[in-house]
Symmetry: C2
Subunit: 187 residues, 2 copies
C-alpha cells in the first residue's frame, strides 16, 4: 500500500488502528503536480492544508513590485499551506509552487476539524504539530533578529542540509532575507 508513509507520519505521535487510519485517510485527497507549477495561487480561497509525500515546494509572497519573498519550504513529511488564510478561511496572500515533481495529500479545514472532533488523539496530533511549528518559527525569528547573514545561513545548513542541496540558491537567499549575490559572496 502506497500510503504507509502517511500512517507512519501519524504514528510518530499517536497510535492508530488500521480502521482508524483508513477512516482518517479517506478525508485526504491525493494531488500530483509537476515541477514549476502552482499548488496554490495568491488570491485563491484557501480551503486545504497539504502533507507532502514526495517532492519539494515553497510558499512565497510577491510584493507590489513583483519581488518574491520565500516564507516556507516543504519537503517530504512536512505540511504546507497559507496558514493565516487557511485558519481564517480567507484568500491566500501566499503562492505555493513546486520545485520538483510532487505528490501531496490535501486535507480541507472542515475535514480537519471533523476528524479532530471525532478523535481526541487526532486533536492531540495536530496540537503537537502546531506547537512544534511555532517553536521552529520562533527560533527562525530569533535568528533573524540576532544573527548576521552568515550565522543565519549556517544555522539553516545545519538544520536542513539535504534540503539545501535540492533548492536553487536564489530561493535560499530569499528565505534568508538577502539577495542571491550577497549569499554567493559568503562562500
Amino acid at each position: 500500500m502506497d500510503d504507509d508513509q502517511l500512517k507512519k507520519h501519524f504514528e510518530e505521535i499517536i497510535a492508530l488502528t488500521n480502521d482508524e487510519y483508513e477512516y482518517i485517510r479517506s478525508h485526504f485527497k491525493r494531488r500530483i503536480i509537476k515541477r514549476k507549477r502552482y499548488l496554490l495561487q495568491a488570491g485563491d480561497k484557501v480551503t486545504n492544508t497539504f502533507w507532502v509525500k514526495k517532492g519539494l515546494l515553497v510558499a512565497c509572497y510577491h510584493d507590489e513590485s513583483g519581488k518574491e519573498h520565500v516564507v516556507q519550504f516543504a519537503m517530504e513529511n512536512w505540511w504546507i499551506t497559507d496558514y493565516p488564510a487557511y485558519f481564517s478561511q480567507g484568500n491566500a496572500t501566499l503562492s505555493i509552487e513546486s520545485i520538483e515533481d510532487c505528490e501531496v495529500y490535501a486535507l480541507s479545514f472542515d475535514d480537519r476539524e471533523k476528524i479532530c472532533k471525532e478523535f481526541h488523539k487526532v486533536e492531540y496530533f495536530f496540537r503537537k504539530k502546531a506547537n512544534s511549528g511555532y517553536a521552529a518559527l520562533q527560533r527562525r525569528m530569533l535568528s533573524f533578529l540576532s544573527d548576521d547573514i552568515k550565522g543565519r545561513y549556517e544555522l539553516l545548513l545545519k538544520q536542513y542540509p539535504a534540503l539545501l542541496q535540492r533548492v536553487p540558491k536564489s530561493i535560499v537567499a530569499s528565505y534568508l532575507g538577502v539577495s542571491r549575490e550577497t549569499l554567493s559572496r559568503l562562500h
Copy 2:
C-alpha cells in the same frame, strides 16, 4: 471572584461548566511580580507557560555581546514563555522580564498535558491558540521579509496601538529589528 477573567478567556473558544473551570483553574499558580523583574531567566529549566491577567512582559534574547533582542510581548490575556524550551522541556535561551507590575498564572507543561488529555475541549482550545499564534508569527516573519522599517512599524501600530503606548521605544525598536535611533528618525 477575581479570576472570572481566566474563565472568560477560555470561554472565548470553549464552553465550560463552573466545576470544569474550577478543576482546570486548580492547575494554575498565581504569580505577582513587580516591574523590571525576571519571570524567567536564560538558563533556567522551563516548566511553565504563563497567562497574563494584568501587566506587560517581554521575552528577550541576549546575544554573546550582551545586546538584547525582543522576541515577544505579552499583555493582558496573552500567553508567554520560551516556547522551544517549554515544549522540549529544556533550558531557556530567552529571558522574560516585566515592563509593569504583573499578575500572571503559571501552568506547567505536565499539567497542561494532563488537562488536555482529560478534556478533549481543552485540547481543542490549545490547538486553536497554537494555530492563531503560528499565523500571527508567520505574518510577522513575512513583514520582516518584505516590508521596510516604516512599513513594519506601521503594521505594528495598526495591530497593537495600545501596546505601543505602554512600551519604551527602545524595546519596540528591538522587536522590529532596528536601533532605537533609526526608529526615532521615522517620525
